[in-house]
C-alpha cells in the first residue's frame, strides 16, 4: 500500500497551506458540507474506521453517541497528547501534514454539530505546536476556519491547547479535566464524554491519526477505505518502530502487514541491530503483553494482535534484542507508571509504587522467590480496580514478564545479580526504589 497519510511528509514545505491545497487538500470538507451531518456520520461508520489512540473503538459510533438533543454546545477534543511510551506517529502528522488534521477536525465538528475543536497537544511538543498555530492562522486567514466556511453557513474554530507534562492527560476524561484547567485525572464513567464531556457538554474525543483518516474517507468513499485492510481493520495505519531495530521510525502500512514484516522487512524495521537475536516485542505501547519471536506471524491489526493475546494499542512497537534483561525492562516501565500515576485511585497510586519497589529489590539482588507471587498478587489487585485503564496498563508489564520470562526472574533471585547485563546500561545504577 502506498502511503496516504504520510505520502508527502518528506517533501519540503509539506506542512504549508499552499502545498496541501495544491495536492487536493480541503476538498473533503467541501464534500462533507454538501452532505447532511448524519450522512457524514453514516459514511464514517460504514468505513469501519477505528480509533487510532489505542482502544480501537469505531469512530462513527463514537460520533453517533454524541447527544444531539442537548441544547448545550458540542465539542471535539483532538487528543494530541501522544505520551504512550514507544509512540510517535501523531507527531509526524501534526508537524508535516497539519492541514489534514485541521480538515479532519472540521469534518468531525460538522458531523456532530460542534463549532469548536480543541487540539490538546502535550507540552513537550513545543516545536510541533508552533507549526500548528502558524498554519491555523493561515487557514483562518484563507477563510477555511472561522465563520461561514465555503459559504455553507457552517462556523467552526480550531484552537491548540498546550498540556504541561502528564501521561494521564491522554486518557479522554483526564484530557477534558486538564482542558478545564484542572489536574489531569480521570472521571467516573458513565456519563461518557459523548453525553457530558468538556464543560459538561456533549464531546467527542478523537486521536490525531483518527481524525486524519476522516478526509480520506470522505474523498474516496467508505468502501474504498474498508478495503485497504483486513475486515474490520480498514484504512492505512501508522506504526512506530523503536528499540533494537535497524531502521527505527514511523511507517505507514495496511493492517494486513504482519508483525514479522514490520520488524524484519527492509521496507520497515529491517531486522535487529547488529543482527542479534530477537528477545521479544511489545506491539502497542508500553502497556500491552509481550510477543515472542515465534508469535510474529500475525496481522498487525487490532483483531490480529488481540487474537495473539496482546493488543495493537497505539501501534508503538518496542523491539528488544537478546541483550535486554526483562526484569530491568519491567522495572523501567514500572518507574514510568509509578511516576505518571495521577494518584486518584488507591490501587494504582499505591500498587504501582509497591510493584516498582519489589522490582528494584530483585534488580539489586535482594529478591526472594516469594516476591514473584507477591508481584502477581499486587498486579492482580490493581488491574480492573481503577477508574481508568491506567491501572491495568501499569500491571501488564509485570504480569506479562513474570509469566513469559519467569526463569529470568528466578535466575536473578537465585544468583543475586542481573544475569543479562547489557553494555548499553549502567551496571551500578542504584535502584533505590524510593523517590
Amino acid at each position: 500500500m502506498d502511503p496516504l497519510l504520510t505520502r508527502h511528509v518528506r517533501e519540503p514545505n509539506s506542512f504549508t497551506l499552499d502545498f496541501y491545497t495544491q495536492h487536493g487538500g480541503y476538498a473533503a470538507i467541501r464534500k462533507a458540507l454538501a452532505m447532511t451531518p448524519d450522512a457524514v456520520v453514516e459514511t464514517v461508520k460504514a468505513s469501519g474506521l477505528r480509533g487510532r489512540g489505542g482502544a480501537g473503538f469505531p469512530t462513527g459510533m463514537k460520533w453517533q453517541f454524541v447527544d444531539k438533543k442537548s441544547a448545550k454546545p458540542r465539542y471535539i477534543c483532538c487528543n494530541a497528547d501522544e505520551s504512550e511510551p514507544g509512540t510517535f506517529k501523531d507527531h509526524v502528522l501534526m508537524e508535516r501534514n497539519p492541514h489534514l488534521l485541521f480538515e479532519g477536525c472540521l469534518i468531525g465538528c460538522y458531523a456532530i454539530g460542534a463549532k469548536v475543536a480543541y487540539i490538546y497537544i502535550r507540552g513537550e511538543f513545543y516545536h510541533v505546536q508552533e507549526v500548528l498555530e502558524r498554519e491555523l492562522e493561515k487557514a483562518r486567514a484563507a477563510g477555511l476556519i472561522g465563520t461561514n466556511i465555503f459559504g455553507s453557513g457552517f462556523d467552526c474554530e480550531i484552537y491548540v491547547h498546550r498540556g504541561a507534562g502528564a501521561y494521564e492527560a491522554g486518557e479522554e476524561t483526564a484530557l477534558i479535566e486538564s482542558l478545564e484547567g484542572k489536574r489531569a485525572q480521570p472521571r467516573l464513567k458513565p456519563p461518557f464524554p459523548a453525553v457530558e464531556g468538556l464543560y459538561g457538554c456533549p464531546t467527542a474525543v478523537n486521536n490525531v491519526e483518527t481524525l486524519c483518516n476522516v478526509p480520506l474517507i470522505l474523498e474516496h468513499g467508505a468502501e474504498w477505505f474498508a478495503k485497504l485492510g483486513p475486515e474490520k481493520n480498514g484504512g492505512p495505519k501508522l506504526y512506530c518502530l523503536s528499540g533494537h531495530v535497524k531502521r527505527p521510525g514511523v511507517y505507514e502500512a495496511s493492517m494486513s502487514t504482519t508483525m514479522r514484516e514490520l520488524v524484519y522487512d527492509p521496507r520497515f524495521g529491517g531486522g535487529i541491530r547488529d543482527d542479534r537475536a530477537l528477545k521479544c516485542v511489545i506491539p502497542g505501547g508500553s502497556s500491552v503483553p509481550v510477543l515472542l519471536p515465534d508469535q510474529l506471524d500475525i496481522a498487525a491489526s487490532f483483531d490480529g494482535v488481540a487474537a495473539a493475546g496482546s493488543l495493537l494499542g497505539s501501534a508503538g512497537i518496542i523491539v528488544m534484542d537478546e541483550t535486554t534483561c526483562m526484569v530491568w525492562a519491567a522495572e523501567n516501565l514500572l518507574h514510568f507508571y509509578r511516576h505518571e500515576s495521577c494518584g486518584k485511585c488507591t490501587p494504582c497510586r499505591e500498587g504501582g509504587a509497591w510493584l516498582h519497589n519489589i522490582l528494584c529489590k530483585i534488580e539489586r539482588g535482594e529478591g526472594q522467590m516469594k516476591d514473584l507471587d507477591l508481584l502477581l498478587s499486587v498486579a492482580g489487585n490493581i488491574a480492573g480496580k481503577t477508574l481508568c485503564a491506567f491501572g491495568d496498563a501499569g500491571a501488564t508489564p509485570v504480569l506479562t514478564t513474570v509469566k513469559t520470562f519467569r526463569a529470568e526472574y528466578e535466575a536473578h533471585i537465585r544468583e543475586g545479580r542481573c544475569t543479562v547485563p547489557a553494555p548499553w546500561r549502567v551496571a551500578a545504577r542504584a535502584h533505590a526504589g524510593a523517590h
Partner: protein, 202 residues
C-alpha cells in the same frame, strides 16, 4: 478534581479557602504577557477562563524562570480562581518549576525505548560532567539536569530535551561536546527535530 462532570467542584462549597503565603519578589505580568494571556482566554467560553491556567502559568514561568507563590497568587487573580486551584495544577504537571533552574534545562528521556539505546549512560555522563545528580542545577547556574518520562521521540533515541528544543540521538560519549557547544554557541548546536526538511522556509 471531579468525580462527575455535573458536580460543581471548585465552586461554592467545594471551593478551597487555602491561602498561599507570600514567597519571592513581587510578581505582576508584563503588559505584553497580560495581553497574550487575554488572547488565549478568548479561546474558551467567557465563564471558563480557568481553561487558560496552564497557558497563564507558562507565561509566568517564561517571565520569571520559575513559579513562586507570589506568581501563583497573581495567576489566580488573572484567571479568576483561588490560589489553591493554581497550586493544585502547578504541583501536578512536571513542566512547571517551583525552584530556580539553570539557563538550560536538560531533560533526558529515561523510558524504555530511549533506555534500550543507552539513555542511562547519557544521564550518567551528564551528571558526571556537571557534577550534579538528576534534579539538581550545576554550580554555575547554567544547566539543570532532569530525567523525564517518554518524550515521544523514541525513533531518535536517546533524546534530550533542552528547554523547548529537542536534541536527538545523543550518544553517551558525546555529552561533553553538547555541553561545551551550548556554553559557546547556545541552542544552535542542537539537532532539533529530524522531520524538518533541509532548506525549507517557515
Amino acid at each position: 478534581m471531579s468525580f462527575h462532570p455535573a458536580m460543581d467542584y471548585g465552586r461554592g462549597r467545594h471551593q478551597s479557602a487555602r491561602a498561599l503565603p507570600e514567597e519571592g519578589s513581587a510578581f505582576v505580568y508584563t503588559a505584553e504577557n497580560r495581553e497574550k494571556l487575554e488572547a488565549i482566554c478568548a479561546r474558551y467560553p467567557a465563564d471558563r477562563r480557568k481553561s487558560a491556567i496552564l497557558a497563564a502559568l507558562y507565561l509566568a514561568q517564561a517571565q520569571q524562570g520559575y513559579l513562586t507563590r507570589n506568581a501563583m497568587r497573581h495567576v489566580a487573580d488573572a484567571i479568576g480562581c483561588t490560589p489553591a486551584d493554581v497550586e493544585d495544577v502547578v504541583t501536578y504537571y512536571t513542566m512547571f518549576y517551583t525552584r530556580p533552574v539553570g539557563r538550560y534545562v536538560l531533560t533526558v528521556c529515561r523510558t524504555l525505548s530511549c533506555a534500550l539505546m543507552g539513555a542511562e549512560r547519557v544521564t550518567q555522563e551528564l551528571a558526571e560532567a556537571l557534577g550534579v545528580k538528576p534534579g539538581e542545577t550545576d554550580a554555575t547556574g547554567t544547566f539543570t539536569l532532569h530525567e523525564v518520562e517518554c518524550l515521544g521521540a523514541c525513533d531518535r533515541a536517546p533524546v534530550v530535551g533542552v528547554n523547548d528544543h529537542w536534541h536527538e540521538c545523543q550518544r553517551p560519549e558525546d555529552v561533553r561536546g553538547l555541553l561545551d557547544g551550548l556554553r559557546a554557541a547556545g541552542p544552535s548546536v542542537l539537532t532539533g527535530c529530524h522531520l524538518k526538511v533541509a532548506g525549507e522556509g517557515q
